[in-house]
């Protein structure tokens, strides 16, 4: 046994170490107090954010049908690519990955930041038409990109594509401003931009649900915590007749123009077609900047709805309304007649009738049948612009038709006040004479034209055009026209087709009435024929008519831009629609059966069989070069 050494100094040093360790533990305890007690709530919040994703579940939008139940707007199941911006490690790298997938072009992705679409905690729908390859690629890189998720969703689809593009409309993404104004609005919400989609958006939209999904750190969904189911939107049945719509599209072909057809008694819109059209399926509101740009830049302006947003000089199609006005005002009588020498001279200025040789003696009925300009020059001279304008407005010109679409133009009925206040130049007395034949400061939309002709066809009632029948549609308004006057005008328009001198006599096989019109885009020089002009200066061709003659069921108005002659270019379009409608009414071809069979192959490329038979839009149609206007 050795002598015990003095360990006291060593133990003092050891005690220091023990104390050091215990102090360190005490300091860690303070850190625990800070993390768990003081800041605990905010860390708990961070944990909640870590595991819960709030995913808006879009409601299925209501379908849109035509009057026979053919689907015009549908929802198809699709794969949607969601981005959760706050979960991304490097958002630029993520966008690069997405761009490489080919789901969106780089320019569009770059604009996301400018539009502050990435700033919110809510997910962003990057695409809703992923292919299988793209889905597989996202899934195989899921652990690198937990911020991306592929989910099942629905995408809007328009089976008839271009044939119904303007009438049915399409969707758009809500704007940044709308999202800022309404914090409850999900930034991925699609709303109707145009057509029925916009008109009945609240009805079609339903209300979105929300799903709280648990996800792991690598973005793998683990389970659903709670879910409020979306309320699906309601279906909308429109008044459109897809069959007639397609016939109209077929008849117009690649020419620019518009066809509108109404049921004259109610104002129900049967056809609302604008050419050129576009395929609304190529964009449903998401990330389609490039395609959108192409459509916007297209010189044919396919996005423009010429039925409602195109304004045209009505040409001779305006004459029936001045005839009615003249009769009502007593400026002409059923028996009064003028003699047409091929023109009149008023205010010291010669106004030429379209027929150089003159029409001879012309009464009200014949003035319409042969579309005599001299008759209306003199009528306009007697009535004066104020009375003419007042009457035009009674028939719904220079005002909204009430169809309710966002950007309907109201056209123009020029008056001295208008000239002073808007145009800024004096009103010339001769302008009223031009207005009398539908030229000069007078612009109408095709919808206004169809609506005004419905008044003639239904016995004097101004209807409100509508695509969806509802209690909100105002009832027809009786304009209080004299039935005898109306009968004269109807007789005149019937003779346009069925009279020996009628300007649309070549359609006399059809039980229809109507009026041709040619409106000048540029004044013709002497000796220059309209056909020789460059296309953009050629005359517009118009035709408005109805069928059948007894109790008309359809008013059809067609405008063919730069089509030169109302009878050669526009009348066959109307005739094609009327012929198809007649076939339907007579049960020829069975519209119900045909329509439902054809519904899944409908499209501009595959017209129903009856359309070709009913479309005598042949350029070989024999008409004189000198066209009535």
């Amino acid at each position: 046994m050795e002598l015990r050494e003095d360990l006291a100094p060593v133990k003092r040093r050891a005690a220091v170490l023990v104390a050091l360790a215990l102090v360190a533990l005490a300091v860690l305890l303070l850190r625990l107090v800070q993390l768990q007690i003081v800041d605990g709530a905010s860390w708990r919040q961070a944990a909640e954010n870590n595991r819960l994703r709030r995913i808006p579940v879009a409601s299925q939008r209501g379908r849109i049908y035509d009057r026979r139940g053919i689907v015009l707007a549908d929802n198809i199941p699709t794969w949607q690519l969601l981005l959760f911006p706050d979960e991304a490690h490097d958002i630029q790298e993520t966008l690069l990955f997405v761009a490489r997938l080919g789901v969106a072009d780089a320019a569009t992705l770059r604009s996301l930041e400018a539009e502050r679409r990435l700033a919110r905690l809510a997910p962003l729908v990057l695409a809703d038409d992923l292919t299988w390859e793209q889905v597989a690629k996202v899934r195989s890189h899921q652990s690198d990109h937990p911020e991306l998720a592929v989910v099942n969703a629905f995408r809007r689809s328009y089976p008839l594509a271009g044939a119904t593009a303007h009438a049915v409309g399409h969707l758009r993404l809500v704007s940044r401003q709308e999202v800022d104004a309404d914090p409850g609005l999900d930034q991925n919400t699609l709303v109707g931009a145009t057509g029925v989609e916009a008109l009945r958006n609240a009805f079609l939209a339903g209300s979105d649900g929300t799903r709280y999904e648990v996800v792991s750190a690598v973005g793998q969904p683990i389970g659903v915590v709670r879910e409020s189911a979306p309320a699906p939107g309601r279906d909308v049945a429109t008044t459109l007749d897809v069959h007639l719509q397609q016939v109209a599209a077929q008849a117009l072909g690649d020419r620019s123009g518009t066809v509108v057809a109404l049921e004259p008694a109610t104002g129900a819109v049967r056809v609302l077609y604008s050419s050129p059209s576009f395929d609304p399926n190529i964009f449903v509101g998401r990330l389609s900047r490039t395609e959108w740009q192409q459509l916007t830049d297209d010189p044919g302006r396919p996005l423009n709805d010429r039925s409602l947003q195109g304004v045209y000089p009505p040409g001779s199609t305006i004459k029936p309304f001045f005839a009615l006005a003249g009769l009502a005002e007593g400026e002409i009588t059923p028996d009064s007649a003028v003699t047409c020498h091929g023109g009149v001279t008023l205010y010291g200025h010669p106004f030429r009738c379209w027929r150089r040789g003159g029409h001879g003696g012309v009464g009200v009925v014949r003035s319409l049948e042969v579309s005599c300009d001299s008759f209306y020059y003199q009528l306009g001279y007697r009535m004066g612009i104020d009375r003419m304008a007042r009457w035009l407005r009674r028939f719904g010109f220079d005002g909204p038709t009430g169809i309710g679409f966002g950007q309907e133009l109201t056209g123009l009925v020029g008056t001295p006040e208008w000239a002073r206040e808007v145009r800024g130049t004096p009103w010339y007395a001769g302008e009223a004479i031009s207005v009398a034949i539908g030229q000069g400061p007078l612009l109408v939309t095709n919808m206004q034209l169809a609506r005004a002709y419905a008044v003639l066809a239904n016995g004097g009632h101004l209807v409100t055009p509508h695509l969806v029948a509802s209690a909100d549609v105002p009832p027809p308004v009786d304009l209080g026209l004299d039935p005898q006057h109306l009968a004269l005008v109807v007789e005149g328009l019937t003779r346009v087709v069925h009279g020996g001198e009628g300007t649309a006599h070549f359609l006399s096989r059809l039980p229809m009435a109507g009026k041709t019109g040619t409106s000048q885009v540029a004044r013709l020089q002497e000796g220059v024929r309209a056909q020789d002009l460059p296309e953009h200066l050629r005359h517009h061709a118009l035709f408005v008519g109805w069928a059948p003659l007894e109790q008309p069921k359809l008013v059809v108005a067609a405008i063919v831009e730069h089509g030169i002659g109302g009878s050669t270019a526009a009348a066959p379009v109307v005739a094609a629609v009327v012929e198809a409608a007649l076939a339907d009414w007579n049960g020829n071809g069975g519209p119900e059966g045909e329509a439902s069979q054809a519904s899944d192959r409908l499209g501009p490329a595959s017209p129903p069989a009856s359309a070709s038979a009913a479309a005598p839009a042949s350029p070989a149609d024999p008409r004189p070069a000198d066209d009535p206007g």
Partner: protein
């Protein structure tokens, strides 16, 4: 004369092991149930080792120390040559279904050797030469571990050297010389002893930003887990951070975070208290020891364990860099658990023979 094993220390060990097993059990759905069974077996074996190793007296450990040290160094050299290559990192022997980490056990050899050497000293203050010997004993082992490279484990050798020099009472100039030697030695090793890929690994460990999924991300997830435990926790098996795998390495380096998320401030404090009890009893053993050898043994073991506890918890609490240092007795892993229990067994030998001057 012999005494009983220290019941307070056993209480602390059993408490920590129980908490560890409960955490592993709760994590079963995420990590699988195999871990729990293994850890329970290691734990039982560990307790047995504490008892068994408390039986020999200190002269046995004194005589055994050179052999243990030689075996440790041999193990570290062999693992560099024969160890299983895990992505360029040779730290494990594969023995059938088991993997053994020699660096965990080599630490015991170092502790026994340093304690035995210091125990023979009779002066109140360690000389410069004595300090250099201690530093060389530890430094040789550290060098081999760095070469694996396993910087986390290498770091745990440093408190052993520091504590030995401190209780040995080296003069101030010794610290200066040792610091200089360490820096020069480190630079030489860095320049000539390490391959480029090894340097890269060391750099990655030292600079977590080199690894985007390490460093900041891991620590933030850990702080979220611990903080969201709040006062009483989310319940074992209900912690979202651990269930959803936001928490990295949750059975090893970040095991404390799982526990703190599940049991809150109450549970985390209880675990800290268990470690305070464990370290306190080891410290008490050192102060009660009759011999310098026993005292140094307890101090070295206590310093090593205290270092690991503080560095690991400091790391998961977001105060210290992530270094891959585990929480003794709590983190999953047989090598770490068994080597800790062996060390505690030696400390218990000191306790049982605390009045015996050897």
């Amino acid at each position: 004369m012999e005494h009983r094993i220290d019941p307070w220390l056993i209480l602390a060990v059993v408490g920590i092991l129980a908490a560890s097993l409960a955490t592993l059990h709760a994590a079963g759905p995420v990590l699988g149930s195999g871990l729990l069974l293994r850890q329970a077996l290691w734990g039982a074996l560990g307790l047995l080792l504490v008892w068994a190793l408390s039986l020999p007296n200190l002269s046995f450990y004194s005589q055994f120390a050179p052999f243990a040290y030689a075996a440790s160094m041999a193990g570290l050299v062999l693992v560099l040559m024969l160890g299983e290559d895990r992505g360029g990192n040779r730290a494990w022997f594969a023995l059938g279904p088991l993997t053994v980490q020699p660096s965990e056990f080599a630490r015991l050899g170092v502790i026994l050797m340093v304690a035995a050497w210091l125990g023979r000293s009779r002066s109140q203050r360690l000389s410069l030469q004595g300090g250099l010997v201690v530093a060389a004993m530890v430094g040789a082992a550290v060098l081999l571990v760095v070469l694996e490279p396993d910087l986390g484990v290498a770091l745990t050798y440093l408190p052993i050297a520091a504590a030995a020099l401190w209780v040995g009472g080296v003069p101030a100039r010794t610290w200066v010389v040792l610091a200089a030697v360490a820096m020069i030695g480190g630079a030489i090793v860095w320049q000539s002893g390490l391959q480029d890929y090894q340097k890269e690994r060391v750099l990655t460990v030292m600079d977590p930003d080199r690894d985007p999924y390490g460093g900041g991300y891991q620590v933030r997830q850990s702080k979220i887990a611990i903080g969201s435990g709040q006062l009483v926790g989310q319940g074992l098996g209900h912690g979202s951070q651990s269930l959803l795998l936001f928490l990295p390495a949750q059975q090893t380096d970040f095991a404390f975070s799982v526990w703190a998320e599940a049991t809150g401030f109450v549970g985390a404090t209880a675990l800290l208290a268990a470690y305070a009890l464990l370290l306190g009893r080891i410290g008490w053993t050192a102060l009660a020891a009759a011999s310098r050898h026993g005292l140094v043994l307890a101090v070295l073991v206590g310093s090593w364990l205290a270092f690991q506890v503080v560095v690991n918890i400091g790391m998961v609490l977001g105060w210290l860099p992530t270094t891959g240092i585990t929480l003794p007795l709590f983190s999953y892993g047989g090598s770490s658990l068994l080597s800790t229990c062996v060390a505690l067994g030696v400390v218990q030998s000191v306790w049982r023979h605390r009045l015996l001057y050897s």
